[in-house]
């Protein structure tokens, strides 16, 4: 796995929207903060794009914008403004030739899971699963989760702790980190952006799904073999879960607990990776050590 160069003061971050629409106003706090951190920011045409639809621009516009950022040697990292939906519509049309010669950090989560998975699998280049531009708003730029992105980009080894959860299965694991948004991971199954999970630490999070639908997606991961040979499992937030009029009867965490009970690798729940504020920057593709004890949960980047 190739780890892209970490950023230095004066380096340039490109801000792009490969999926949903984002106004420039909503990215202002992010741009100011990146500037304070010592980076230059170049905004793509898809930020406050000329679009009246759900998307930040047409497929062609979003593709061209991201392609330009991938190809431009003057851009040292690409931060996605937001997720939403749309990255999957352009991923097969992206040309990664120049990016492979000059890898750079691709930053984002949610719909951006597509880029993490696609790049990790096909080009063996690590990416950064982390908060996006919107997370800087409402004084978000002060919190430790947004700061964790800064630290990750500066090349500090990421090391996180979280509270124990009653469902946790203690143990130690070591392996490359893979994962992201559950709905996207399920959707990528069977495609050429699907990441093998054998020997890896898998992390999952999701938002706003019906409980039955979450259960079905988990069954898809299980039935496609993704839980079989994990080194460890990190369960993040499953926020704003919805239920049907006939209650499903299980929380997302209970669905996961039931589906992995036959394995013996360590599993932790409630890790701060989510669509809520709690969302640490994780280097997808990099090696991590997971330690789960009764009183301690630690996810630490290995050398």
């Amino acid at each position: 796995m190739i780890i892209p160069p970490y950023l230095e003061k004066g380096d340039t971050i490109g801000l792009v929207c490969p999926a949903g629409y984002m106004s420039a106003e909503k990215a202002a706090a992010c741009i100011n903060t990146l500037d304070e951190w010592g980076y230059r920011v170049i905004t793509g045409k898809t930020l406050e794009g000329n679009s009246s639809t759900y998307f930040s621009g047409t497929d062609e516009e979003r593709l061209a914008d991201l392609q330009q950022m991938l190809d431009d040697p003057g851009i040292n990292a690409i931060l996605c403004g937001r997720g939403g939906y749309g990255t999957g519509r352009i991923v097969d049309l992206l040309d990664f030739k120049k990016f492979r010669k000059h890898p750079k950090w691709i930053i984002g989560f949610s719909d951006i899971t597509i880029l993490h998975s696609h790049i990790n699998r096909n080009y063996k280049i690590a990416t950064l699963h982390a908060p996006m531009a919107g997370a800087f708003n409402d004084e978000g730029y002060k919190n430790e989760f947004v700061s964790s992105m800064r630290h990750a980009l500066e090349g500090r080894r990421t090391q996180y702790h979280c509270d124990p959860h009653v469902f946790n299965r203690p143990g130690k694991a070591s392996g490359r980190l893979t994962g992201g948004n559950l709905a996207i991971l399920a959707h990528l199954t069977g495609t050429r952006s699907d990441v093998p999970t054998r020997g890896k630490i898998l992390f999952l999070e999701d938002i706003g799904e019906y409980l039955y639908s979450t259960d079905r997606m988990l069954y898809q991961l299980k039935r496609s073999g993704k839980f079989d040979n994990l080194a460890g499992l990190v369960v993040g937030g499953f926020t704003d879960a919805k239920d049907t009029p006939r209650p499903f009867g299980k929380s997302a965490y209970e669905s996961i607990r039931d589906l992995v009970k036959e394995y013996d690798y360590p599993v932790c729940y409630g890790f701060p990776v989510s669509h809520a504020t709690e969302n640490y920057a994780l280097k997808t593709g990099a090696r991590y050590k997971l330690t789960i004890e009764d009183e301690l949960v630690e996810l630490k980047e290995s050398l």
Partner: protein, 339 residues
């Protein structure tokens, strides 16, 4: 023989049945379906609920009508059971379905309703007796799990149709479209060759196709991708339908079909009902279902038929999965015909 051994021997079994004389391995396209025996008067239809829960009372219209067709109805132990949204616990649902599959007296199994839950039990089913003595499995929506699993692993035909919860309460007052839909199940079970005509719509792509029919609920098909139940579509006519999904989600599902290689080698595509969930304010997706579909398949030439009467709507005609059909799409009409 345990289940694992059995499953691994299934392809060999199929190959043995269909291997051409010269010993060249048959491609999937050449393999024809194993057709369960059609039903005769007095045959038993079992009703079970592998997914959502249903009361016995809700079954009554379907029982009465199917009895009037001359069949004997056996009600499974999951009917009236409830475990939250499910028709009993996973074990209870699995056992009921297993019992019906294994019981030689039961000639067809109608799933009482869909919902969610078939995928939670499908890997626990032992298919040994069913494979030796195939019988009709009937249902749609969540039951797409069973159609897809059976089609892929056993090549046994099954019936994609309405289920017990959609039989009209009062048959004498049912709308003609309901009557036709429900009667199509009877026709399918009794061995009539199916033939459906539907008016052409402007978005169709004309042409002729011939191939085995596979498909079902799109969300369910997507959720099976990468699994042992993942549908194989090469050389086939694929039908899809869905309900209550946002346009962006429908778009994403078609991307999954495309990116997992399911659209490139089709003979034909049938798009049934797609009841779309309205976009939330200010977030218009900006594309119709027609555009979403055609965008994915513009580089292929096979015929495409939209608004076919299959889906979560009143006109949802019985389709025989895995059996060879022809599809003719022309300026004024679409005809799907069982061979």
């Amino acid at each position: 023989m345990n289940r694992k051994q059995f499953l691994s021997s299934t392809p060999a079994l199929l190959a043995a049945i269909t291997l051409p004389v010269k010993g060249i391995a048959a491609t999937e396209r050449e393999v024809s379906a194993i057709v369960p025996p059609y039903l005769k008067s007095g045959d038993i239809i079992g009703i079970t609920s592998p997914a959502g829960y249903i009361t016995r009372e809700e079954l009554m219209p379907s029982i009465q009508l199917m009895e009037s067709w001359g069949y004997v109805i056996r009600v499974g132990s999951t009917i009236g059971k409830r475990d939250f949204t499910f028709g009993g616990t996973d074990d209870e649902r699995k056992q009921d379905l297993q019992q019906m599959m294994d019981d030689e007296d039961v000639k067809a199994i109608m799933c009482a309703r869909g919902g969610y839950g078939a995928v939670r039990i499908v890997d626990g089913i032992n298919w040994e007796k069913f494979t030796l003595k195939p019988k009709w499995i009937i249902g749609f929506s969540d039951i797409t799990v069973l159609h897809s699993h059976i089609s892929r692993n056993m090549g046994i035909a099954s019936i994609h149709s309405k289920m017990c919860n959609s039989f009209p309460d009062d048959w004498s007052r049912a709308e003609p479209i309901q009557v036709d839909t429900i009667l199509s199940i009877k026709k399918a079970l009794s061995g009539e060759k199916m033939r459906y005509e539907t008016a052409a719509v402007i978005n169709n792509r004309n042409g002729m196709a011939k191939g085995r029919l596979v498909g079902g609920n799109l969300k369910t098909l997507e959720s099976l991708a990468g699994s042992e139940s993942d549908i194989r579509t090469n050389g086939k006519i694929l039908f899809v339908e869905d309900t209550g999904e946002y346009l962006y989600s429908i778009d994403r599902m078609f991307w999954n079909l495309k990116r997992s290689g399911k659209l490139s080698q089709l003979e034909g595509l049938i798009v049934g009902g797609f009841k779309v969930k309205a976009d939330t304010g200010g977030e218009d997706f900006g594309k119709t279902v027609y555009e979403i579909v055609m965008d994915k398949i513009k580089e292929y030439q096979y015929p495409v038929c939209f608004d076919f009467p299959v889906g979560h709507q009143k006109n949802n005609f019985a389709l025989k999965c895995s059996i060879e059909h022809t599809l003719k799409v022309s300026d004024d009409i679409c005809i799907l015909k069982e061979l």
